[in-house]
Amino acid sequence: MIKESVIAELHKIVGKENVKTEKEMLKAYSYDGTSSWKHEPDVVVFPTSTKEISEIMKLANAEKVPVTPRGGGTNVSGGSIPIMGGIVLCTTKMNKILRVDKENLTATVEPGVVLQDLTMRLMKEGLFFPPDPQSFLGATLGGIIAENAGGPACVKYGVTKQYILGVEVVLPTGEIINLGGRTLKNVVGYDLLHIFISSEGTLGVVTKAELKLNPIPPAKKTIMAVYDDVAKAGENVFRVMENGVIPDKIELLDNWVINRIEEMMPMGLPKDADAVLLFEVDGIQEAVDKETEKIVEIAKKYGATDVRVAKDQAEADKYWMARKAGFAAVFGKAKTVFAEDVTVPRGQIPALINKCKELAKQHNVEIVVLGHAGDGNLHPAILTDIDNKEHYDRAVKAMDAIIESAVEFGGVLSGEHGIGLEKQKFLKRQLEPKVIEMMKNIKGLFDPNNIMNPGKIWE
């Protein structure tokens, strides 16, 4: 239990109204976006400035109290669970967009800004921040940076780390440092900025960030291609790209997902198709038209049974709505869902999909595939029930095998969700012992007392 004196100090730092110890409040901060993890903190603190965060960290460091930083609590790795208790440092009240700089295509934000709020603000200026994790309605920039989040648009635009120019960070010891800057090019010393991006909140708290923006492309088009074999769909992904077209999104829905969507909201998706690919191309109108033609041509050449180009935005929205509904469809259909996040080099997509099919048969479980096929980040999901031990055990085995094969195919066990608590047990299968040791040493350098989001990433 946390000492009363620490609570009293916190009251002095952020004001009584921003320190919560009611047990209902602690319970409400015991979970994140996952369904499998929970642990209550001893106190929840809502700072409103960098200075306050610095003082909180100094206090916690002196008292050796664990601090778990948290934004919208939408992550799906268990990363923001206060697994050792202590302080939850919640940044949701630091949610100001400090500057949008059209000349330099940058924005300066506080860590608690919700991605969708940023997107809406930038839209007014004709700009956008490309990383698009599908938790955009709740995810905050602090968390997006800490998790190095990605999303569908990363096929063309890349992930968060390509869009962070600089950050202000409060270290676990309370010091305030600035890394990176406001320029695209920056080779001044070691690139410490990128150690913070994907640090999962274990090295410090991002208190301010300088984001790189893009102008919104003037035109876009959506193409839906239908396949009688999901592996063919997987092959089409890299065929399109090797033929010179880089769509901004390529998403895959398998037969199971298509049918659940049609049950929920019939929109004329081909129910007997083994898989559907949704492509979106964006850019200037002429390029978009040409690229669309090319995709249609390639898809047909490599086995698509039907290719439809959305005739207007309404039809395009319908397809993308289906993609979004796919997510709800999966989670609504089983008590427990393992949403895997494995990512393989694009050329290995068919191999991974075939492997999933094989494992589903072998372990007698339902494995559905929907995901960001364009960047090899498939989300095979296993439907199970944590209360049905026998089934659950089979599902765990199938999941282990999927991760194993993704690594064998030259991929990674997590593409965009992070390790957190959820994937700790797999870490050793991916990283060499020396690498894990180096990571631990870096952690010790930043956080000598191991108070910053302790218990995450490695076991």
Binding site: K20, T92, F327
Partner: protein, 405 residues
């Protein structure tokens, strides 16, 4: 999976930025209660109370979780376990549930209206000494004569012909005590179009404030009285979005047995909000709507009451009427469907949050450049008037019916 998408749509969370304000937190804690891992503490009561029941989260939830049912259900369980707090017990059971007594209390209260300085038109500003109660808000004047005291029980079609249908008019408290002219207008509008309108004396309060606070027992009593009062009619029409939705939803929240379920469902099918009745049942063509002279050349914007757009899926009907009114310019507000922040008794307990939410609503209204704000729920009207005055803005607020000849 706890995606937390609701946080983006929850007007209360957007102000509070704390997990207990949002559906995900309320849902989680309620589940713990069901598992026996959480008590009905006073803090839990505050958390469950701090919800507008605007249903924005319900409309947007990818898993279609019915948070309104979770919240109302938790409130009901709380009432069952602990009873109602004194003030609600008195207001719901002794006053509101007894229609005659309610009328007397409102009338008595209205005798003291002169104590409050009049600000503009029919709105009175609560002076400082009443701040404890009204927290400085502008509240509308209570009508000199209530609708119940001036309305006829049977209103035949004005052309003297056989009525094409017989409908009941459900007046509701706000129309009865504050906006009686709305009731008269509705009856006039319908009787001009061949409809016979019955206004049963035995009708009571719809029960919104009562059963949404978890007092299902009194809610059921009102449901029974209202169902009985309106027996044998083709439809039951209201001028209040909250009333029409509350009457429709008896079947959703209140049934305690199968018989009630059946009867409340049958009742639901007869309820029509005024806007819905005019467009969907009477099917009045656009060119038959005439704008009242005083509104000619004005620019109007529409506010979607939660109880119309999300409880009843009534979105197009009022817009169809507004757009049909020649001489009126209609501008859609960017946040037309955002809750005004009233939430019934929510605004009594959390007026500070109400004001912040209303300010966002007001920004949307400003962006339209409208002279008048139109809606179809007296509850929203009261809150919009208060907040427009507080923001020192010139817009007047009207019920849709007031614009129509």
């Amino acid at each position: 999976m706890k995606c937390g998408f609701c946080s983006f749509f929850c007007p209360v969370y957007q102000e509070e930025k704390e997990e207990t304000a949002v559906a995900r937190g309320k849902n989680y804690l309620t589940k713990l209660i069901l598992k026996g891992e959480q008590e009905f503490t006073p803090e839990m009561g505050d958390i469950i109370g701090k919800c507008l029941l605007c249903k924005r989260c319900v409309a947007m939830c990818p898993s279609k979780t019915q948070i309104d049912r979770v919240v109302v259900g938790a409130r009901a369980q709380m009432v069952k376990n602990k009873g109602l707090p004194f003030i609600k017990n008195f207001a719901f059971r002794k006053v509101m549930a007894n229609r005659k007594a309610f009328g007397r209390y409102v009338k008595l209260a209205s005798k003291f209206q002169w104590l409050m300085p009049k600000t503009e038109g029919k709105v009175r500003h609560l002076p400082d000494f009443l701040k404890g109660l009204g927290q400085g808000r502008n509240i509308p004047e209570v009508a000199k004569v209530f609708l119940r005291d001036m309305v006829k029980k049977v209103n035949k079609p004005q052309d003297g012909k056989e009525p094409k249908m017989k409908v009941g008019f459900f007046m509701g408290c706000a129309t009865d005590f504050i906006y009686p002219e709305l009731g008269l207008k509705m009856i006039d509008f319908l009787t001009k179009r061949g409809v016979e309108v019955i206004v049963p004396e035995e009708q009571n309060c719809c029960g919104a404030a009562i059963y949404f606070s978890g007092d299902f027992e009194t809610g059921r009593m009102l449901a029974e009285q209202n169902i009985k009062a309106f027996e044998g009619l083709d439809y039951i029409v209201t001028t209040c979005g909250t009333c029409s939705s509350t009457l429709k939803d008896y079947q959703k929240y209140l049934p305690d047995n199968e018989d009630q379920q059946k009867r409340y469902e049958a009742f639901e099918k007869k309820i029509k909000d005024g806007t819905e009745f005019i467009i969907d049942v009477l099917k009045i063509p656009p060119d038959e709507f005439k704008l009242k002279k005083e509104f000619e050349g004005k620019t109007a914007t529409w506010h979607d009451p939660c109880h119309l757009i999300r409880y009843q899926n009534i979105k197009d009907q009022p817009r169809a009427i507004l757009k049909a009114l020649k001489g009126l310019k209609y501008v859609e507000a960017p946040n037309a469907d955002l809750c005004c922040g009233m939430g019934g008794s929510f605004s009594v307990y959390h007026y500070d949050i109400t004001k912040k939410i209303a300010d966002k609503k007001i920004d949307g209204i400003k962006a339209t450049g409208a002279d008048i704000v139109v809606t179809a729920c007296p509850g929203c009207m009261i809150n919009l008037i208060d907040n427009i005055l507080r923001n020192k803005m010139p817009q007047k607020v009207y019920h849709l019916l007031e614009l129509v000849e």
